[in-house]
Symmetry: C2
Subunit: 126 residues, 2 copies
DNA sequence: TAAACAATTAAACAATCGTTTAATTGTTAT
DNA sequence: ATAACAATTAAACGATTGTTTAATTGTTTA
């Protein structure tokens, strides 16, 4: 255990080692960073509930397709969505992984807490 | 229901309204943004498990106190931590709210998924 | 009061981020 | 091949972010 400048008489021994693994938190932050932009959460949330092409996503989000492409690329390289080409179009949807499920549930829970009974309508109905 | 450029024959009617409430996702993104920085997640995680002064947090995180103060200010204005002055020092800890509990659990779950049985040691022992 | 320590604030800086516009690649149909 | 459409990439831009250094505000003690 590293000695701290001030001794406030707390810190059970087994908590100290926790404070040293910075890389792990960096890894987590790369996940959370995906949702630090409102448009990107919304895009992810849409793709949790349907599979769509870029043009339609642009229309839903009221954004240009390069902008959508840019966000899709980030979500994809974070492993949160997948894309499959079908003819001229590429269909995107949320990846089927435990991390994606956990993030979906976190969004739903935080939504429910900050806007009880309300903002994410389709989820509540089930 | 707004008509989309391409009709892929999906989208049950009750999913459509969901795609229009952008402000709600913006609100969520302000929460997630707090954790888009590795140092800030780590700081929050520490403060979920103990109450500490800025000097000790600086030592734990190996960062300057202005840098720590800066992150504390953000976490505080997001409602995630509280601070109380005691003499020359100010002690910070995680706020006691449902949102904080949900975020704590999300961090723990994502940690467990990406590093099974391992990285956040003290939490696993209970 | 003055000195010492804790914490915050201010100013400056490089780095990152989200969006736009324009150009490019990939695919299908004529 | 050519034209039309979907999607991505590239370059540029303003805006935001995290850190540093220096100055300032609070509080205690000598």
């Amino acid at each position: 255990m590293t000695k701290l400048p001030h001794d406030h008489g707390e810190h059970p021994e087994d908590i100290i080692p926790l404070f040293e693994n910075g890389e792990h938190f960096l890894m987590l932050s790369e996940l959370f960073r995906q949702f630090s932009d409102g448009n990107r959460i919304r895009l992810f949330w849409i793709l949790c509930h349907c599979e769509e092409c870029v043009i339609n996503l642009s229309a839903m989000m009221n954004m240009s397709s390069p902008a959508i492409s840019h966000h899709l690329k980030q979500l994809k390289s974070a492993g949160l969505i997948t894309g499959r080409r079908n003819g001229k179009e590429v269909y995107y949807r949320a990846a089927d992984t435990p991390v994606v499920k956990a993030l979906h549930d976190a969004i739903r829970e935080l939504s429910e807490l900050s806007c009880p009974g309300g903002c994410l309508i389709p989820e509540e109905k089930k």
